[in-house]
Symmetry: C2
Subunit: 549 residues, 2 copies
């Protein structure tokens, strides 16, 4: 016959609506605890959340928002933001989460580029929106996520109160039938160069990503888990926590605006018996400092999932040995929904030596099922998975973006459908990936590559160094050589020689930084990463002593 035969299975689209329906039906008493600007401890159930979600869908309709509209949120992690996720997405609109820590001109660009119709904004972030309101070209209204008593005074037109709108809205809503390819969410990358680029997630990609992330070998939430997402809901959908948790009925604890505050996090963990928390390394450093200063413990906490940038081994070690908390590395990008790899302990981990375990923990881990990977050299030729060869990391899969929203000027996608992550990595024979650098941060010394990240990790293992960064600076002979930039811990005053002697025996000789410069602080991006771009600008006039260039 030689003709395809088609299966006889139900035509059932993968939609966020399906997650909502499952969560409300199977886990009506799932718990949601939030810190908000107007309530330090708000408690409700999934059932409450979805009743209000239906009210919110009616509000959106009444405001005049329709299918396909982009609706912006500028908000911290709390139950109202969760309601917005579901009301917007299940209405067939696009939940456009915006990072309030971006520069105002970036927020302005993003709102206008996305053609947002409405903006939902936290009371604490309202001043930013108020200032920019006149520059928004498509915005028809602004809703402040608070109650009437807490509404800010403003001269801006069309500003509404979230709770007042909800109070008048019907609790019934007929959710539309959606095509699984329809867009549900939009998130702009906080690129360090050029304008931010938008990634437009579909219902299908969102559900598949959540299924992948919820695999036992992924992040793998269970019903018994209590989850503290310290990764913000404005950043790549909080790593899918708002979907994954609801799929299995976990308890959610939202820190609201208190995300960077180690004390609040520790108190929330203990008060709510948090079992798993997710966030960037900076957050865990803050928590660790608070625990060490206060003498508190976090008994219920089993795991933290760390992504965004590589977690220093010292932080992982301290959590494991002093607090009994496993730190699991994960790696991904806005363009990847975000999950790419996760470093769960593999088969045979317990039998490894301490040193091998430690070496493995700092890697980014194995690709989740659903993510295909390859590493390539500068001619796009595939490199072996031997743990040594490192090249540009390319990815492919159902939850990876195929293009940026309304942009055709990027070359991130190749003709065979692979996306270039911009990261440089190794892959070993067990499928374990380790980032060696960002392609643009790697130091090209005499035709060979030096990993800035590897050098930074060595520097960070020095007990007196608070933060460190390595950039490539021009060199007449080698084209580029590494410069190490260091922030001393309070009260410490290292010399360049002290620092460099710490590198001896830990790296290849030719990787040794050519100089060390000390600064009071390093520049950071809106998502808390060190901004190499700004650092390079800062050291634009710097000349290496080893080079006449």
């Amino acid at each position: 016959m030689s003709e395809p035969l088609f299966g006889l299975m139900m035509d059932y689209p993968l939609t966020v609506t399906q997650i909502m329906r499952h969560a409300e039906r199977v886990y009506p008493d799932g718990e949601v605890v939030s810190v908000t600007a107007d309530n330090p401890q708000h408690r409700c159930t999934y059932s409450d959340v979805f009743r209000r979600t239906r009210q919110l869908a009616n509000v959106l309709k009444t405001l005049g928002a329709t299918r396909g509209d982009r609706i912006a949120t500028l908000a911290w992690n709390d139950y109202r933001h969760l309601e917005l996720y579901y009301a917007i997405q299940c209405s067939g609109m696009v939940c456009h989460t915006i990072n309030p820590r971006l520069f105002p001109e970036q927020v302005q660009y993003i709102v206008n580029h996305a053609e947002d119709q409405f903006i939902f904004v936290d009371k604490l972030i309202f001043p930013l929106v108020e200032k920019l309101a006149a520059t928004f070209e498509t915005v028809k209204g602004i809703v402040v996520m608070t109650d009437e008593a807490n509404m800010p005074e403003t001269a801006v037109d069309n500003v509404h109160c979230y709770e007042t709108l909800l109070a008048g809205a019907d609790e019934q809503f007929d959710w539309p039938e959606l095509d699984e390819q329809e867009a549900c969410a939009l998130c702009y990358t906080s690129g360090t160069t050029g304008n931010p680029k938008g990634v437009l997630y579909s219902h299908r990609s969102t559900v598949l990503h959540a299924l992948g992330a919820n695999s036992a070998e992924g992040i793998g939430f269970k019903n018994r888990d209590t989850i503290l997402p310290v990764v913000p809901m404005f950043h790549v959908n909080a790593w899918a926590v708002p979907y994954c948790a609801l799929m299995v009925g976990s308890k959610l604890v939202f820190p609201g605006p208190k995300m960077g505050d180690g004390e609040t996090l520790a108190n929330l963990m203990n008060a709510e018996s948090v079992t798993i928390a997710l966030g960037v390394p900076t957050v865990w450093l803050g928590l660790l400092n608070h625990l060490q200063e206060s003498g508190k413990t976090v008994e219920s906490l089993e795991r933290t999932v760390v992504g965004g940038s590589a977690c220093p081994a010292s932080i992982m070690d301290a959590f494991r040995t002093q607090y009994g908390v496993e730190t699991i590395h994960a790696w991904g990008m806005t363009e990847m929904s975000p999950l790419g790899t996760i470093n769960n302990p593999p088969r045979g981990f317990e039998a490894m030596s301490e040193a091998d375990q430690a070496a493995l923990r700092v890697k980014q881990g194995r690709p989740a099922f659903g993510v295909e990977m390859k590493i390539v050299d500068e001619d796009d030729k595939e490199l072996p998975w031997d743990g040594k060869a490192f090249g540009r990391l390319k990815v492919r899969g159902p939850w990876i973006c195929s293009a940026y929203y309304k942009r055709d000027d990027t070359d991130a996608h190749d003709a065979d459908g692979w996306f270039d992550t911009g990261d440089v990595s190794t892959m070993d024979s067990h499928g374990i990936m380790q980032i060696t650098d960002r392609a643009k941060d790697v130091i090209k010394s005499g035709g060979e590559w030096i990993s800035s990240i590897d050098l930074e990790n060595v520097a960070m293992s020095h007990p007196d160094i608070a933060e460190a960064a390595v950039i490539g600076v021009p060199h007449e002979k080698w084209a580029e050589r590494p410069l190490l930039i260091v922030v001393n811990k309070p009260g410490k005053q290292l010399s360049a020689a002290d620092v460099l002697s710490h590198f001896e025996g830990k790296i290849a000789k030719w990787w040794m930084p050519d100089d060390v410069q000390f600064v009071d602080e390093l520049p950071h991006t809106a998502t808390g990463k060190i901004s190499k771009l700004h650092l390079r600008q800062q050291f634009a006039d710097y000349k290496l002593p080893s080079s006449a260039a």
Copy 2:
């Protein structure tokens, strides 16, 4: 605008090929251990399996099999059956697994109805195929899954040797690009009435089901797991084990033809450090008996997942208290790929009383994300989820069949797209489902329903009863009344009064069986369940003492 906006995510189809590619790339040294007819301990890696899978794909091509063809397997669980799954499915053909325990005339019907082009058969099952060969209308060749030395003599034409075919085949193969809606597998239900009905799985449904099953809140395999699937690969794809395990690189231990043998299972568990095993209750009863007789333990075993029929509480208790093994109930059907619900301990389980834990363990559990459920009364009106109301259980979702293969004479699907499971169940407010009966086994007494399963469970809790079944028999006043049929444990001889006194206080008075009959054994179906159909035939002439009817 009011127009749908589509996401910008990669168009990446969900196919079994994707599972194969991931497994081979990320987990090349994943282990596969098999008992086969010609080798009691065959060991290989995923890498070996997929090299041979490519050879097998070339063999299929050379034999003349083409896209869309149904290729039958009649085989036990081993590495060759695994190779067949992937070679057939990733070639765009349909892997039609057939239960060798069916009646020969059923096998004949199924092969001809499916229009199978080739049959791959275990050496031990070859005699069955040989006997039926002349009745197969579409079969062009039969491949015996063994090596040249072990080939049976036969007068049947076109019989090939698996290993001989493979030995000559190229190790490279260009897998075709598949549409995710294409069929990959076919399995006929072993219905107790009428001809078996075929369920035609798609690549999409298979991948989604495997993702759902591999959720941490589903069956949830991890890379560190060693899995013993005692559920046969001819029965609903061995509950997706051949997909789920390979997605995460677990070690697989296949018992081959030794599935019903408690001693082999115990030895395999101990020799290979099995952490999780899956099968029907009969299997675990056999294992338990062997452990108790031999004094062996199963130290590495953490969990068994039990489905197919309800597992008696006594078996669960023995495994938990004597061997430290948790038994997790799961429920599903051939029509559901099969996973419907799973009874993982929910939030707060540890804090429950012993009695509440025990009561919860025997339930079927919460629906996996991806499965929508409702219970309805005889007028198809939805019943509440209160743990009390029981009605016909209907399901909907992306891995549930929409029709039977080449059959339009069933009324299992309603106009709104729900599939009627034929089971009767309750749902409680925590989304936990409990089967109360098969719709056709429920006893309709005076307009009310009595659950045959509930009565059987009470009977099975009697220490001297080996097996028990309840059927409804005609009654002049009540329409039907329950008859209890009992098999005594060896050396025991209970009276009807002994048995009925055991029911007192455990059930509503009007549920009390009207009579007890003793038999030497109960009839079973090909999948090991009690055949109520045959039991009803056996007791067709029986009259209740309480009825003049």
